[in-house]
Symmetry: D2
Subunit: 345 residues, 4 copies
């Protein structure tokens, strides 16, 4: 069967590179075009990008000529790893042009008509992509820190009902892209990230919310986020405490997380892990160095599930910010759209 040709815009950045790496050997999508900023347009990809993925650059990619983001593209499916600033106009333009934009950018995440989706959590929101009043549409994935907490909260909200959430993040530097964080701000340091906090709070509520009449109504429970950057290359670590209706104990919560499956597992999507959540028993796990890469970086690792004397349970959550937290989140959204027949013919 012919693979669907796709474009990657924001292709030279760290997330764009990971999307390109995932497209190598993908059974359904095929890299057809790459685009980036005006500064690099016209250059060959191999000359313009410093490749930062641990695996080798796929054959054929280095020779592709970069287009300028926003310029005419052949592909009807566009992966966007653009920074939020330029993404706003460019993504809207492609949607007006009839393309489906599968975006990792923050520009439209909180637009109530734009689905903000983790396929295991709220694949049903994806139908909104056809209700945006444009020939095409935009689908987004969440902030890399909101991702892993929301994956861990979703089965708890479904089964018990969440009443309140406290989260503290210890985020990796690769989440800030390149050049990103100054080394003097992070070597031997913990750096506050005030702007991440509202994103985590609101995006979590939106993903656990409900769709009606073409818009998402966010969940009502309060989320309180305290975000920091730490000197870790890859892998966001999060301490999460949650108050649950009915006050289940830690063992029951652990079982609920372990049993969690969603649409990607049921439909056998190509990039889906066998289980979205891996629960650890050891009391010193998960850790980013040992666990961020588990299952190709597609799972949320959850450990230290125990009673919380203030809320109901607390736990340690970890995931690979560049994979399931960004590039692979977009890829899985695209695969879900295809499985739901929501991509252009």
């Amino acid at each position: 069967m012919a693979r669907i040709p796709v474009a990657v815009i924001g292709a030279t950045g760290m997330v764009g590179q990971r999307i390109i790496a995932m497209l190598d050997g993908h059974p359904q999508f095929e890299l057809h075009e790459v685009a980036s900023s005006a500064r690099t347009a016209g250059k060959r990809y191999g000359a313009a990008a410093t490749w930062r993925v641990p695996s080798a650059m796929p054959d054929g990619v280095g020779g592709l000529q970069l287009k300028e983001g926003g310029s005419r593209l052949d592909s009807s499916v566009v992966f966007s790893a653009m920074p939020a600033g330029p993404a706003t106009a460019i993504e809207r333009g492609y949607a007006a042009d009839g393309k489906i934009v599968v975006s990792n950018s923050s520009s439209y995440r909180m637009d109530p008509r734009v689905p903000l989706v983790i396929p295991e959590v709220n694949a049903d929101h994806l139908h909104l992509v056809r209700c945006q009043g444009t020939p095409g549409g935009i689908v987004t994935n969440c902030n890399c820190a909101a991702m892993f907490m929301t994956m861990a909260l979703a089965p708890l909200h479904r089964r018990y009902g969440i009443e309140a959430v406290q989260v503290t993040t210890m985020q990796a530097v690769s989440g800030a892209g390149y050049p990103g964080v100054a080394s003097l701000d992070i070597l031997g340091n913990v750096f506050p990230l005030p702007k991440e906090e509202e994103k985590m709070e609101r995006e979590t509520q939106k993903m656990l919310g409900t769709v009606a009449e073409g818009v998402v109504t966010p969940a009502a429970f309060p989320v309180s986020a305290q975000c920091q950057r730490v000197p870790v290359e890859d892998g966001h670590t999060e301490t999460v405490a949650v108050r649950l209706t009915g006050n289940p104990d830690a063992a029951e919560v652990a079982a609920t997380l372990r049993d969690f499956r969603g649409m990607p597992q049921e439909q056998g999507l190509h990039s889906a892990p066998a289980r979205p959540i891996e629960v650890f028993e050891q009391d010193d796990r998960p850790q980013p160095r040992l666990d961020a890469n588990r299952h190709a970086g597609m799972t949320a690792s959850v450990g230290r599930i125990r009673a919380c004397p203030v809320l109901t349970v607390k736990m340690l959550v970890l995931g690979h910010n560049l994979m399931r937290g960004a590039a692979a989140a977009a890829m899985l959204n695209a695969e879900a759209l295809l499985a739901m027949d929501l991509l252009p013919a």
Copy 2:
């Protein structure tokens, strides 16, 4: 006036070294003896210890001959920076021998007759040192992570009443001593510290508790701690959320912290900072690299005080784990004991 001769046991470790550095030029105490493990007993201090304090080793210290911890000491005041294991018998022995042991060890922290003291918070507990049924007595300071949170909580508990506390720590490697943490466990990593959590929870409750009939009754509010080690050399960073009676707003809480003073400030103790808490206005402070050393490492730095959608307020708390979190905590306790006339004549 003659300075009081003191002994430092556990003198070669990181905390012992800091105590020795603080004794240099101290107006009231004078280093008279050093002791350590059997392994180094008999050696000269300068040969047995790798000096890790940023300032130079004080004159005269390198030539002192190390005694074995537990052996006969001349001094009636003993600073203990022994590991918890050997400290249990050794500290009890010195107390039985009539000495006042000012300890940083965890052995007796939760003994209800042993005062666990931050002089700004609960100097009144120090009187317990005379009620332990031995000729001498033991005074302790808390775990380095409990220290800064408790300093920030004390004025809030006094003014409003605390109903619940959530804390996540990001602790420095120097808190684990030398050799301490393996580099493979911490370079580019976040490492869970399960055993620190109960200490933080219970020690905080004890310090904010009340004394009656010769024992401490801990405060009743729940504390939920989630502790991690991060690749930071010095300075423990903590995200703290607290539910307060009466629901004060963030500005009022900030003012309460800023105005906090205690016995060390009132009495002008030698090592006391002008203010125990420094409140930051910038939304990217405090940070360990920039702020752990402020005011000679004697203050708790508090920033990002803001409303918490789950509890009442949340904030970022930081302090120097080896100074106010350990060595200087013991030193200030000794100065408070002296000011309260609780040291041997």
Copy 3:
């Protein structure tokens, strides 16, 4: 064709784990037994070892029961990743018992009858394994820092003749095993490694030496090594300057390195990279973070080849200390032994 059953001793350490990972799916060797220290003997491998390889532990390994190093083994081929202390007696014992020991330990590296081999460099030395006066024999690979410099020097020595070498190393912490380096010695630090220097100097000379009458005579040129540990997880970086007979220019040296091939490439050994040396043109490469993993960690990366105003040329050399620098060095030695028909039938 049946795979040869092999044992891995020192199986729980970082190098042992990498050997086990390389055996997964190996076409010629099959993991049959694992052994470690007396402390873990009898435990299941999955319970005794904290798995630190980025890929998942191969199926079936976790359930293997650990034997004690030195005890009876079925396999006639033994990979040894034991520490030098216990390795001395244990490896000798297995060789006396008729086994071929393919060792990463330093115990026998400088024994003139024991081949110290990089198959691209001195595969001919492997014949010594049959001349050690025991039913079996010992083959070793070099120190992880000597490896990459020697790979880069070998084609230059062959073509021009080396007259003198200066090298400074910046070595990764994984080279010291676990727990290895204390975090306080390496976070934000550069730590001298005096004991590595003589190893680098002498092992390089031995590998570039000649075999006659059953012993190796080392090359005569002087090597001067200055070794340090730096806060890098994986990948040893080395600045190398070399005086060459005939004074070739940098471009010619680069071409010589680029063209280098050896027995593993000619024979198509399973773990051999297509080219043992990758030459970089960019003036900011190689770097451990970007390049240590290239070609499965099997190559020496060489860049910045340029004239040296003191010797002839200088260059920056890098390789993965746990792969080609240790585990994969042993594996390639075993594959070379098999290709040369030097393994037990």
Copy 4:
């Protein structure tokens, strides 16, 4: 006696801040003016600069209003910590205006009429400041990496004669200023610094050269530098090998370094250390974490002095790149100029 009012231009950067810190309590110079880029001109210093010096910002500095570098200044002595680009025109302008510019910038370091000075090494070059054909003059200090090697080489050149030098650097991130190095380029990495190498080579030769007829003639021996950045905050570490006339042994070289004194020691300059070089006996010293701050960061730490099988001796050299390597280098130059009566009346 009245202190000489001085200006600091480039005052908000890391070196500028250190100069300001050193002026606090200085007996001869007094901070009168601060200047920086157009972007911050007009702002109060305390609002424009993130203070990164471990000690507190001196009283009174926070309220100073920043001028624009190049604008009119009252002071006749100007410390320049400007980046090389803008420094070129600005420093020339102030010299034309009659001021003495004591510069840390690289703009004029290799100008043969501009003295490039370490007062212990070549204070006699300072007279060139009056021979530049302008009413004022420019004095520079060297690159932070050239500093420590040259301090160690100077007494050897004086006593034996240097024939060749090989150096590899492992440089701290603070040497690149703020924001400087991207964290993804340095966390767990070693990053090549090609542009530093020629500076190290040529500046060393110039400082060890001779003055005649108003210009410096550099020393003729070859220097070969290989420069890297490592994940260290403060302190440049260097492996140095040197060929010396007469082939002295390591013990003699160590004694020569230990005995080294220069004009700052003889004249008792305020910022001068008692000895410019501290020689270590331990084989694991110096290390940046333990030793960069020794003697207020004013000394070169030298250890591991031993025979080199290729040249004559090799050693490990370390110093604080922001102190003696930059800010304090300028300060000591200013003190030397004053002592030599070369500052404007």
